[in-house]
């Protein structure tokens, strides 16, 4: 049986952290994006969603994850739009993702940045996990 995928908030002093788990890396990235948005307490505004393609290159999967989540934060800050993953492909040092973005009416908590603090993707027999620390 495939393990479930999900996320939960974990304690981290002055900032915030998520534990994310998934059966594969693509799903882990998707769960991390949902978890970050839940952590921010976003409220949807409705309206017509927009589709957008994003490509990120990095030296390893951790830097792709930071780059991906940081780009979502940028769009949220600039356009008040939350993007969800439609399709995501990970290859050696490259992430290609198709996203669908909807406007949000309110955000309860600002995340300033996605950090590399203790960031390490862990693979066990049947699951990937990661702890992500966000600067608030």
């Amino acid at each position: 049986m495939r393990p479930s995928a999900g996320f939960c908030e974990i304690d981290h002093g002055a900032d915030a952290a998520l534990k994310v788990w998934a059966p594969d890396l693509s799903e882990l990235f998707r769960q991390a994006s949902i978890g970050m948005q839940v952590l921010m307490g976003m409220e949807p505004a409705g309206g017509q969603p927009v589709e957008r393609d994003l490509t990120i290159q990095g030296e390893d999967d951790e830097s792709l994850l930071v780059g991906f989540l940081s780009q979502l934060l940028f769009w949220l800050d600039q356009e008040h739009r939350a993007f969800s993953v439609v399709e995501l492909t990970l290859q050696q040092g490259r992430l290609d993702v198709r996203l669908s973005g909807a406007l949000v009416s309110a955000i309860q908590r600002e995340i300033k940045a996605v950090t590399y603090n203790d960031l390490a993707l862990q693979q066990s027999k049947d699951a990937w996990t990661v702890k992500i620390v966000f600067d608030l």
Binding site: D11, H12, A16, Q78
Partner: protein, 484 residues
């Protein structure tokens, strides 16, 4: 790694040190300015380990200094000070933080509590209206690309030229409110886009505007120099470089992941990535960081002018003199190029202060003439509902902490613990019972910033005073808090 009190050498009641030999990758010792009880609390999270990690940066001199308000951050601990040789040492964006030049501005007045009390609610409304705050909230108008470039080059002076404030405000701002090494060409397109819309806005999280009463003066001479009058109102503004600064740090931490391999820099935490100050990458980050720092100086300058406008709108004709005059504006997340005496030698250094305040001693040439005798004003905001302090930088800070001091109370409880154990509505009610008015857009956010989630700021101040880093000038009591 498990750390205990046994790892520390007790220097005095409020100073504890871990020698450089403690870990093979440490380059310098780490000095903690703290009480035994607070140190035991710090050992409960990872702040001590993070301070030891900071001691591994190439080019460090002296020692890493850790302030009593230390708490766990990412990479560096909050409350950490580390100085690297200029230009052959490194600069680490993680040692400065995402909110570059997050800082505090203090403004004083002659307004007596008795005369303003009937107008406090109106003042709260006016401040809220004049100083936009909250998550994703923009400033008054969008800057053109050319204007943003000028803000990044000139800092607070740009805002004064636009009519936001007075020339004397600049003299009473750290580094005159502008760092000369700024180069807007070092900014990414995304950093510029974020910067164009947010100037003149407070932000969210722990950012705030607060009206306080000068409850007690400890040093009459310094208080007089700073313009602080017992029984009169002051205003504090806590804000930073908004999305532009966050983006500069994000861009650089990402880029430096590869740069560390190029320069063979081996670090225990990827958030500590750094580059030599004299490398193209280090120079670019320094230029971008200075842009963000200047943006933050301009931002607080505009917020101060907007607060002055709110005071005028509500209080003209109702109080004797509603004018707010600048006491000082300080940064507590900064990489600052300064000259310090190290082992008897004068060295040019990059002083990383993350959650630590510059605290120059009396006589320092960087201080305005009127503050030379007293030392630099050091602004130590308490947690919402508790007192804040105005201190003055003292000579020992120049000798042991690169002219640095604490920056606040320091967190005791994590945000999720605070949210689960404290209720925003109850907190607001309790504070109002104590005569403290609160305006906030988020009750959940209010609970995260509750006084119980922070250390006792008076205990923090006691440590910096006992260790000679600063001296007490005045105690401020909160009356009105506007939370971002």
């Amino acid at each position: 790694m498990t750390l205990s009190l046994q790892a520390f050498q007790k220097i005095s009641e409020y100073e504890w040190e871990i020698p450089a030999a403690f870990r093979p990758d440490m380059r310098v010792p780490v000095r903690f300015f703290t009480s035994r009880r607070m140190l035991e609390n710090a050992l409960a999270d990872r702040s001590v380990e993070q301070a030891l990690n900071a001691a591994t940066l190439p080019g460090l001199v002296g020692r890493v200094a850790v302030m009593p308000d230390v708490h766990q951050g990412y990479g560096f601990p909050i409350g950490g000070v580390a100085a690297t040789r200029f230009p052959d040492g490194v600069i680490s964006p993680g040692g400065i933080g995402y909110d570059i030049n997050c800082g505090v501005r203090l403004m004083a007045s002659n307004i007596l509590l008795e005369e303003v009390r009937p107008h406090l609610a109106d003042l709260a409304l006016a401040l809220d209206r004049c100083c936009p705050s909250g998550v994703g909230v923009k400033g008054g108008r969008r800057l053109t690309a050319g204007e943003l470039e000028q803000v990044c080059r000139q800092g607070a002076a740009w805002a004064v030229k636009q009519g936001f404030g007075e020339a004397i405000d600049l003299a009473r701002t750290e580094s005159g409110g502008g760092l000369g090494e700024a180069d807007p060409a070092a900014l990414s397109r995304q950093a510029c886009e974020r910067g164009q819309g947010q100037l003149g806005s407070l932000g969210s999280g722990n950012h705030f505007i607060e009206i306080d009463l000068v409850e007690r003066v400890f040093d009459k001479k310094s208080a007089a120099a700073f313009g602080l009058i017992e029984g009169c109102l002051v205003l504090q503004i806590h804000s930073g470089s908004r999305g532009l600064g966050h983006q500069v740090c994000t861009d650089t931490v990402q880029a430096f992941q590869q740069v560390v391999h190029k320069y063979n820099i081996i670090l225990p935490d990827r958030e500590l990535v750094s580059a030599p100050l004299d490398s193209p990458e280090g120079r670019r980050y320094l230029a971008a960081m200075c842009c963000a720092a200047n943006y933050a100086f301009a931002n607080r300058q505009m917020l101060a002018a907007q607060a002055r406008s709110a005071f005028d709108q509500v209080l003209v004709g109702k109080v004797g003199n509603p004018h707010l005059r600048q006491v000082y504006d300080i940064a507590h997340n900064m990489g600052s190029i300064e000259t310090h005496l190290v082992n008897g030698k004068s060295l040019k250094l990059c002083v990383h202060r993350k959650g630590a305040t510059r605290a120059f001693a009396p006589g320092h040439p960087a201080l305005p003439a009127e503050y030379r005798a007293s030392g630099q004003p050091v602004l130590v905001p308490g947690s919402m509902g508790t007192e804040s302090w105005v201190l003055a930088g003292a000579q020992r800070a120049m000798q042991v902490s690169f002219g640095s001091c604490c920056h606040g109370a320091g967190r005791l409880m994590s945000r999720s613990q605070a949210r689960h154990s404290l209720r925003g509505e109850q907190l607001m009610h309790d504070l109002e019972e104590r005569g403290i008015q609160i305006r906030t857009g988020s009750l959940g956010g209010l609970a995260e910033e509750a006084p119980a989630a922070y250390k006792d700021v008076s205990e923090v101040v006691k440590v910096v005073v006992e260790t000679g880093l600063a001296s007490k000038v005045a105690l401020l009591k909160p009356l009105l808090v506007i939370k971002g």
